[in-house]
C-alpha cells in the first residue's frame, strides 16, 4: 500500500516495512511512500499544553494601568446583542476575554464577576433558543445549527447549509 508523504514521519519505523521503489507513485501531495503490511501504526505527538493563563507576567505597572483602564472602557462599549450567531459569537468571546484579562490583572472579584454575570445572561438567551436566528437541531445531518443557515447557504457569512 502507499502512504502519503507526511505519514512517513508518523509511522512507527520498528513496525513498518518500507521498500525502496525505483520510481514512485505520485499524487498531488507528493511522492507516495510504499508500505508493506496490513496494519500501520502511527504515533502522533501531543499538542503543546495551552492554558488560559498567561505564561509571562507583565511587570511594567504603567502598562498594567493602561490595560486595566482599557478593560473598564471596553467592558461597556459593545453589548453582545447581535441577532446572528456569527456576530454574537465574536461579541461574547470578546467579553469573555475581558473577564479573563481582568482576572489575570487581579482587578477584583466583584469586577470580574460583573463581566461574567453579563456574559452568562447573554449566553443563556442563546442557549435557551430564544434569540433572533435561534438554534435548531438538524435531523438530517445531526448537530445544532442556526435556523437561517438551513435555508440560506449565504447565511452566517457563507457558513450556511
Amino acid at each position: 500500500m502507499l502512504a502519503l508523504p507526511h505519514h512517513k514521519h508518523a509511522l512507527d519505523a520498528s513496525k513498518t516495512t518500507i521498500p525502496v521503489f525505483d520510481a514512485p507513485y505520485k499524487c498531488i501531495k507528493g511522492d507516495m511512500i510504499p508500505v508493506v503490511g496490513n496494519e500501520w501504526i502511527a504515533h502522533v505527538e501531543p499538542l503543546t499544553d495551552v492554558k488560559l493563563e498567561s505564561n509571562v507576567e507583565i511587570t511594567d505597572s504603567f502598562v498594567v494601568d493602561i490595560i486595566k483602564n482599557n478593560i473598564k472602557q471596553d467592558e461597556d462599549m459593545v453589548e453582545p446583542t447581535a441577532q446572528d450567531i456569527y456576530g454574537f459569537g465574536k461579541e461574547i468571546a470578546r467579553l469573555a476575554q475581558l473577564a479573563l484579562l481582568a482576572d489575570e490583572l487581579k482587578m477584583g472579584k466583584a469586577f470580574v464577576q460583573g463581566i461574567v454575570t453579563k456574559a452568562h445572561t447573554y449566553l443563556t438567551s442563546w442557549l435557551d433558543g430564544k434569540s433572533g436566528d435561534h438554534f435548531v437541531f438538524d435531523q438530517d445531518l445531526g448537530g445544532v445549527v442556526s435556523k437561517g443557515s438551513l435555508q440560506n447557504s449565504q447565511a452566517d457569512f457563507g457558513n450556511g447549509w
Partner: protein, 489 residues
C-alpha cells in the same frame, strides 16, 4: 476536461455547518448505553463509535476470543451486537493465527504429536492405545469445532463486509432546540436533494445518519447540476460524476462504467500551480452491460461500488455483477467479478499488449496471440499477468488473481480488452509509474504483493498515558485482507 481537486473540498465546504454540528452529536450517552465505558474525558466522535470498544479491549484480545464467539451466536445484526464483531475481525487480522481459538490450537498440536509417535513403529501399550482412541476422537472433535469456528468466522466476516459502516440510530438530541428536518422546510441542502440516495444499497440507507457529506467519495453520489452539462463540450463527459480521489488514482462513474485515471501522469507544473488532471484513461465495465449501480459499503479509507449486469437467463437467473474495492493508498485497482466479463476500454487505443515475464525477472503465466506478427495485430492473450500499454504511453500491469489463466480478446479497433467468457474472480490493474524499470524494485514489489487485496479498513485510536506526556497513538488497522485468500495461501 480539466478537473482539479477542488471538487471534494467544495462539497465539504458546502456542508461545513452540518459537519461541525456532527461533532456535537451526543456520543457520550450512546457509549454508556452500548456498554463501552469510556476511559477519561476523551472520546471519539460518533463516527468511530464501533471501534472504540475494540480499542479499549485491545490488550485482552487472546482471552476474549472464545467468549466472543458465543456472543456472536445471538447477534442479529443490530448495531449494539455488531460491535464485538468489529473487534473480533481486527483481532484476527492482527494475529494472523486466526482460524482457531488459541486453546484449540495447542490441543491440536499436542494431539498431532501423539499421533506421530504412534506411527513410529513403537507398539503402544493397551492403555495408551485406548488413550489414542480417545485422543483421536478428541482430535476429531477439535477439528470439527475448529471448522465450525472457521465457518462462523467467515460468515461473520462476510456480514462485516456488508455492515461495517456505522450504527443504525435515529438522530436525536437532548438539547432544548426544536428538531427540524431539512425536507420539511424545503432546504436546498437536504441530503435527499443534494445526493442520489438510490445509489445506496437499501440496507445502507438506514446507516447513513448522519450523512457523510465530507467523505472522500461523496462526489460519487452528489447529484449533478443539469445546468453545468450545457457548458461542457463533451456530452459523454458530462454524464460522469465528479472525480473521487483514491490516491494515487482517481475515479469517476456513471450508469455504465467506472473511469480510471492516474492523474499525476498528466501533471502540469507552473511556477505557482501544480495540477494533476483527470482523463478517463481506462473505462472499467463488463461486456454484459451494467443495469444498475450501488454504493455497497464504505469506511474511513475505502468505498466499495457494485455494478450489476443483467441476470443470466440460461443459468437459472443467476446474478452477474462486479465490485470495485477502492481503498486509499492502493497501488492496485481491484475488481471482483461474479459471472461477468471484465472489459477495459482505453481512452484511445491499446498500443501494445505483452507479458510481464518478457521484461521482468519474474512474471506470471502469459501467452499472446497475434494474427500477424509483422503488423502487431493482437488477437488475444491468455494467462494471469499482462503488460498492457496505452497509446498515450501509460503502462499497466493486469493481474488475474486466482491463478487460473483466463483469456482476454483484443478487439480489432484495439479499443477494448475483454474476457472471452464470463469470469468469477478478482482482476487487478496497476500502473507502472512513469520512469520505473520493468526489472526494477517498483515492479518487483508490485508483482510480489499483488495476490492480497484490501477490501476495507479500520482506524483505531488509542491514547497512551505516560507521566506528563499524553501520547496519542493512532493505529490504523488497514486492509482486512480477503480472508479466503489468507487462509488458503
Amino acid at each position: 476536461m480539466t478537473n482539479t481537486y477542488s471538487s471534494p473540498q467544495q462539497v465539504h465546504n458546502m456542508f461545513n455547518s452540518g459537519n461541525s454540528g456532527n461533532s456535537g452529536y451526543g456520543s457520550t450517552t450512546d457509549e454508556s448505553e452500548n456498554g463501552s465505558p469510556l476511559r477519561g474525558p476523551r472520546y471519539l466522535p460518533v463516527y468511530d463509535t464501533p471501534l472504540l470498544g475494540a480499542t479499549i479491549d485491545n490488550d485482552d484480545l487472546s482471552e476474549d476470543d472464545a467468549s466472543d464467539d458465543s456472543d456472536h451466536e445471538h447477534s442479529n445484526g443490530d448495531a449494539v451486537n455488531n460491535i464485538p464483531i468489529h473487534f473480533k475481525a481486527m483481532a484476527l487480522s492482527k494475529k494472523v493465527a486466526w482460524n482457531l481459538p488459541p486453546e484449540n490450537m495447542s490441543a491440536m498440536i499436542s494431539e498431532n504429536d501423539a499421533l506421530s509417535s504412534s506411527r513410529t513403529g513403537k507398539y503402544p501399550s493397551r492403555s495408551r492405545r485406548r488413550n489414542h482412541r480417545w485422543m483421536s476422537i478428541l482430535v476429531a472433535c477439535v477439528v470439527v469445532v475448529g471448522l465450525v469456528a472457521i465457518t462462523n468466522l467467515q460468515k461473520h466476516l462476510h456480514n462485516l463486509d456488508k455492515q461495517h459502516f456505522r450504527p443504525t440510530k435515529e438522530l436525536t438530541s437532548d438539547l432544548p432546540y426544536p428538531a427540524i428536518s431539512r425536507d420539511s422546510i424545503n432546504a436546498k441542502g437536504s441530503p435527499n436533494r443534494m445526493f442520489d440516495m438510490d445509489l445506496f444499497v437499501p440496507d445502507m440507507k438506514k446507516t447513513l445518519l448522519p450523512f457523510p457529506t465530507g467523505a472522500f467519495w461523496t462526489n460519487f453520489v452528489l447529484k449533478r447540476d443539469p445546468s453545468q452539462n450545457s457548458n461542457n463540450n463533451q456530452d459523454w463527459a458530462g454524464q460522469l460524476s465528479d472525480p473521487v480521489i483514491v490516491y494515487p488514482y482517481a475515479f469517476k462513474w456513471n450508469q455504465g462504467i467506472i473511469a480510471i485515471s492516474y492523474p499525476s501522469f498528466r501533471r502540469i507544473v507552473q511556477p505557482y500551480v501544480i495540477q494533476d488532471v483527470f482523463w478517463p484513461d481506462i473505462s472499467f465495465s463488463v461486456s454484459e452491460g451494467v443495469v444498475s449501480r450501488k454504493i455497497l459499503s464504505y469506511d474511513h479509507l475505502s468505498v466499495t461500488l457494485r455494478m450489476n449486469a443483467p441476470r443470466i437467463a440460461t443459468e437459472n437467473e443467476a446474478v452477474s455483477f462486479f465490485d470495485m474495492y477502492m481503498v486509499q493508498g492502493s497501488p492496485y485497482i481491484t475488481g471482483k467479478f461474479t459471472r461477468s466479463s471484465p472489459k477495459l476500454d482505453a481512452l484511445s487505443v491499446w498500443d501494445k499488449v505483452g507479458c510481464v515475464s518478457d521484461y521482468a525477472h519474474v512474471g506470471g503465466l502469459c501467452t499472446i496471440s497475434k494474427a500477424d506478427d509483422q503488423n502487431n495485430f493482437y488477437v488475444s492473450m491468455t494467462g494471469v499477468q499482462f503488460l498492457i500499454t496505452q497509446a498515450e504511453g501509460q503502462q499497466w500491469i493486469l493481474f488475474v488473481n486466482d491463478g487460473v489463466p483466463i483469456t482476454f480478446l483484443i478487439t480489432a479497433d484495439r479499443h477494448t480488452i475483454v474476457t472471452a467468457h464470463p469470469y468469477t474472480g478478482v482482476i487487478r490493474l496497476a500502473i507502472v509509474p512513469p520512469g520505473a524499470d520493468l526489472n526494477g524494485k517498483t515492479v518487483n514489489n508490485l508483482l510480489n504483493h499483488s495476490s492480497i487485496y484490501p477490501i476495507a479498513s479500520k482506524v483505531l485510536i488509542d491514547y497512551e498515558d505516560v507521566p506528563k506526556v499524553t501520547k496519542l497513538i493512532i493505529s490504523i488497522f488497514l486492509f482486512l485482507c480477503h480472508l479466503f485468500f489468507i487462509f488458503f495461501s
